[in-house]
């Protein structure tokens, strides 16, 4: 038969002293000799060989919870690009296809920006409305929140800017009266009721429809961008549930923010749109470019900070960030910000989220309290990370974690019960931050500013002697202190609940409260001790030289920097949030200080700490490997392990191959020439082998259990009655990376990081000795740092 002749032909290239080459076969084969890498189309005379060369569907995909092979994906992409380019000149249709291919990247990113902006607008509007639903309803138009309800009303006064007859609190609706202890209790009760029902709804939706929608999302996205696969994490249902339950979680008054989940939402959009274009849907490395751009769009719409979003994607989230990704992220952030701006329903008063209107200068001596705020931020960050990780670990391993719905309800109940009496915690956290950032001028009437009238003595607008001197500052201060303690404690238990939860706004709130307290203290100090040297130099009596709002800003940046350890992106986000360009230097000083102080207690930010808690295989590019171990200390098999599971290039039968696969759980197998020589041919992945065998048994006839499997170009010589051999050369990776056993581990870790490898083979004197996988490296690093090496879970 034809295939027997083909099988009997030895293959020509040097195979290390195998079969002898029958001289009469050479002329026939010589013209068709082609050295191919990984199964390119070798021209052949038989149609059967052609059939065997066509790509097997499913080969090249990855299992869930596995790491991708960056090198292979990049090679695939370059191959595809070459193919399209080579066909470009053939016809107009091919040219159009090549144009479409070149522009599909920009198209995906545009669609992602549009979708992110639209979803962020929806989340903003719905969250604002539902938040105010806890207080009351707007009778004339049910869809307005408190501020919008009183927008056109003329009954608002200078002192009470929120009161208008169209907005009815629940006590007013149910009991009929607005003031008094009865209505206070009724309001309290309705507040708790709504908070609990929103929280309960949120956790139920998450549990029933999309369990991956809980948490912040940024640790998992960091891991995905470094090459990990989590199927369903960026899917349609996760997107929908995350959007809906984020609104519910924010509205329930829990101490969380929207920013981390918005990054997740944007990445889901990016992932979904990338499936419309084969350039991105089939290639995992290209998809991650789109995801980097999408996360920039996410931060851009969360804060209204496009440049900060790009820098955030660069600094925090992405693993590889080539220049092309920078342009795409820039464009995505731009489109998303534009869409959000055009939806802008609340009027141009909300363009910049926490816009500060003052431009008073800051003085050199104020650097001391700014640095103190930086130290506070660093200390709080370190404390929060330790406490939150300890609590999450307890939730993970003990029976606290068995009742997620109950836990959410309990935390929401405690939060609501404690938050209602204090006006600073009752209101929306974003509103609190805005109030704290705003400086007290003549136009402000909040409780924080009441002491100003007392201080400023006989100025033009308050020289009415009948006005009582209110000690408003003291009640504001102790309420703020209580709010600070409350938020510090509750955020520890809230971050990591099984509802979408973000960390940015609570950290900024804590920092803003601390900063404002310090600012007010400094102000009082400057007022009552204006004859001290420091203040005499710079401050005049009666003039404001201290702006407490600035201290709140610096405190917010310091706390956020302490917990996430961001630097540049944080400063850019904060000055894009506030518009305070004069204050970049104090912000940088505070952020730098908080990073140094925080790093003194532990090098990880909150996201890296959660990655380590979950055991994701994330090889951090920021850490340096400083130990002097060699490759042979880390490679497997160790001396006590069974020998390395290898495949020989043409000795195995299908049955033996299946046996190897079923008995071991390795993800890939090196292919060697023969057991005696141990010389390396290539590397074959488990998933590819199983798919190829299944495919062969389905599509090709004559493949039996004792068919020979060969990875070479031509089948080995077989006796005449043996069944048809199975050629698996197309799934073999012919260029695996190897290091020698004496390579220092520093170089090996560097290779893994820079190339994005999954495994690396170790040779000794040219012979295959062992294998190092990414998991081995992570375990080794954990061991060197005296952590538990068994906590690395995935491959």
């Amino acid at each position: 038969m034809e295939e027997e002749d083909a099988a009997a032909d030895p293959y020509l290239p040097y195979d290390g002293g195998g079969d002898t080459i029958p001289l009469q076969e050479i002329p026939r084969r010589g013209s068709n000799y082609a050295m191919s890498n990984g199964g390119g189309a070798a021209s052949s005379t038989t149609h059967l060989l052609d059939f065997l060369e066509e790509p097997i569907p499913g080969v090249g995909t990855y299992d869930d919870f596995h790491t991708i092979d960056w090198v292979r994906e990049k090679c695939k992409d370059r191959e595809r690009h070459r193919k399209i380019n080579s066909k470009k000149k053939e016809s107009a249709w091919e040219f159009t296809k090549s144009l479409y291919d070149a522009w599909s990247g920009w198209l995906v990113v545009t669609l992602t920006g549009l979708a992110s902006g639209a979803l962020a607008g929806l989340i903003d509007i719905a969250a604002d409305w539902m938040n105010d639903l806890k207080e009351g309803v707007c009778l004339s138009a049910m869809w307005f929140n408190h501020e919008q309800c009183c927008w056109t009303s003329n009954e608002t006064t200078f002192a009470e800017r929120d009161k208008c007859p169209q907005w009815k609190s629940w006590a007013e609706l149910i009991l009929g009266q607005a003031e008094g202890p009865g209505s206070y209790i009724m309001n309290y009760f309705m507040y708790i009721y709504w908070a609990l029902s929103f929280a309960f709804l949120a956790v139920c939706l998450v549990k029933v429809f999309a369990p991956y929608a809980c948490g912040s999302g940024i640790p998992e996205i960091k891991t995905i961008l470094s090459g990990f696969i989590i199927r369903g994490y960026l899917g349609k249902w996760t997107l929908m549930i995350k959007t809906i339950t984020l609104v519910l979680a924010v509205a329930s008054g829990l101490s969380l923010g929207k920013e981390g989940p918005l990054v997740h939402v944007a990445c889901c959009c990016g992932n979904i749109f990338s499936y419309l274009f084969p350039k991105y849907s089939k290639n995992e490395a290209k998809k991650r470019e789109v995801l980097s751009a999408a996360s920039a769009a996410g931060v851009s719409v969360a804060f209204g900070a496009p440049i900060g979003g790009v820098l955030f994607s660069l600094e925090e989230v992405s693993y590889y960030f080539p220049l092309k990704t920078l342009w795409r992220s820039f464009f995505a952030a731009l489109v998303a910000a534009f869409v959000l701006r055009s939806i802008n329903p609340f009027g141009n008063s909300r363009l910049v989220l926490f816009y500060v209107e003052y431009h008073t200068p800051w003085y050199l001596f104020e650097l001391i309290p700014f640095i103190l705020l930086g130290v506070f931020g660093g200390l709080w960050g370190a404390f929060f990370i330790r406490a939150n990780i300890a609590w999450c670990r307890r939730r993970k391993s003990t029976r606290f974690g068995k009742y997620p719905v109950l836990e959410v309800i309990l935390v929401a109940a405690i939060t609501a019960v404690v938050a209602f009496p204090n006006p600073y915690t009752r209101q929306n956290t974003s509103e609190l931050i805005k109030e704290l950032f705003t400086d007290c001028g003549p136009l402000e009437s909040s409780q924080l500013c009441q002491y100003r009238s007392q201080m400023n003595g006989s100025t033009a607008y308050t020289d009415n002697p009948n006005q009582p001197a209110e000690p408003g500052v003291y009640s504001a201060m102790w309420q703020l202190c209580l709010a600070l303690i409350f938020k510090i404690i509750m955020t520890i238990f809230t971050f990591g609940l099984k509802v979408p939860s973000g960390l940015f706004i609570p950290s900024m709130a804590i920092g803003a409260i601390a900063g404002r307290i310090v600012g007010i203290a400094m102000e009082q100090l400057a007022y009552y001790h204006h004859d001290w040297f420091l203040f005499k130099e710079w401050c005049e009596v009666g003039a404001d030289c201290i702006t407490p709002g600035l201290y709140a800003m610096v405190g917010a940046a310091a706390c956020l920097g302490g917990v996430t350890r961001m630097t540049v992106s944080l400063v850019v986000i904060v000055f894009e949030l506030t518009g305070g360009l004069e204050y970049i230097v104090p912000l940088m000083a505070a952020v730098m200080t908080s990073k140094w102080v925080g790093d003194a207690f532990g090098r990880e930010g909150i996201y890296e700490a959660h990655i380590r808690l979950n055991g994701y295989p994330f090889l951090d590019a920021k850490e340096e490997f400083t130990h002097t171990t060699l490759a042979r200390d880390v490679m497997r098999p160790r001396s006590s392990d069974p020998p390395l599971a290898v495949l020989t290039q043409d000795d195995l039968t299908v049955e033996e191959l299946q046996g190897v696969i079923n008995e071991t759980s390795y993800n890939g197998f090196p292919v060697i020439v023969s057991k005696e020589s141990q010389r390396l041919v290539g590397f074959a992945l488990r998933r590819d082998i199983t798919i190829a065998i299944e495919n062969a048994r389905r599509k090709q006839e004559g493949i039996m259990l004792n068919s020979r499997v060969y990875f070479t170009q031509h089948a080995p010589t077989l006796p005449a009655d043996s069944p048809r051999p199975l050629k698996l050369r197309s799934i073999l990776d012919m260029s695996p990376f190897t290091v020698t056993d004496h390579t220092p581990m520093e170089i090996v870790v560097d290779i893994f990081r820079k190339l994005g490898l999954r495994q690396c083979l170790v040779t000794h004197n040219g012979r295959l000795l062992g294998i190092i996988t990414k998991k081995d490296i992570l375990r080794h690093m954990a061991q060197m740092a005296n952590q538990d090496p068994e906590s690395i879970m995935f491959n």
């Binding site: 639209a118 929806l122 869809w143 927008w151 056109t152 369990p211 929908m240 549930i241 141009n348 798919i691």
Partner: protein, 188 residues
């Protein structure tokens, strides 16, 4: 579930378009002037639906609380800002959000309460309920390969297709729930 996603995408598109073409309601613009306390006059807030060119103290502050020569001093302290909003966008967004939330709640009630009850009534024994809980093997590499290759097979019937897709989705959610809530391997 692609249908639900399509509905959502359609709603989003409508929403974005609507926000562009929503007519400028006369009630949606205002000029807000905040005037701090001045001598005996208390602080006040004045609002009027005027356009940008008329948004200043003299047009908006009515009735003027001080007399002739003090008007300028009073107005200097006032700050007037022009604001506009889009109430149509807010209304449409809230309605879309509440309807999606309502649909999800109904579906959740159906999945958790009604469907097991219906199944129990129709089939009597618990065999079919158990088949949903079977874990499709990570342990069997060849079964997995089976899955990958069988995606290309076509179903005969539309209803069969929907049923099959729904079963696959529920298995996926079950797997996710196990990883997140039971074994705590992801997202802890």
């Amino acid at each position: 579930m692609k249908f639900l996603f399509g509905v959502e995408a359609f709603c989003l598109a409508c929403f974005v378009l609507l926000s562009q073409v929503s007519a400028k309601n006369s009630e949606d613009i205002r000029c807000k002037c905040i005037c701090p306390p001045y001598r005996e006059v208390e602080g006040q807030i004045y609002k009027q639906n005027v356009s940008l060119k008329d948004c200043n103290c003299l047009h908006v502050v009515e009735p003027m609380p001080v007399d002739g020569k003090d008007v300028e001093a009073y107005c200097l302290r006032c700050e007037c800002k022009y604001e506009e909003r889009s109430s149509g966008t807010i209304k449409v967004t809230i309605i879309i959000y509440l309807s999606i939330l309502g649909l999800l709640l109904l579906y959740m009630v159906y999945l958790t309460l009604l469907e097991p009850m219906l199944k129990r009534r129709l089939f009597g024994h618990s065999q079919l309920i158990q088949s949903d809980d079977d874990v499709v093997g990570d342990q069997q590499p060849f079964a997995n390969a089976h899955n990958v290759l069988s995606h290309s097979h076509s179903r005969s019937n539309m209803l069969n297709k929907v049923e099959h897709a729904q079963q696959r989705w529920r298995r996926q959610v079950q797997e996710q729930r196990k990883s997140v809530f039971d074994r705590h391997v992801v997202l802890s």
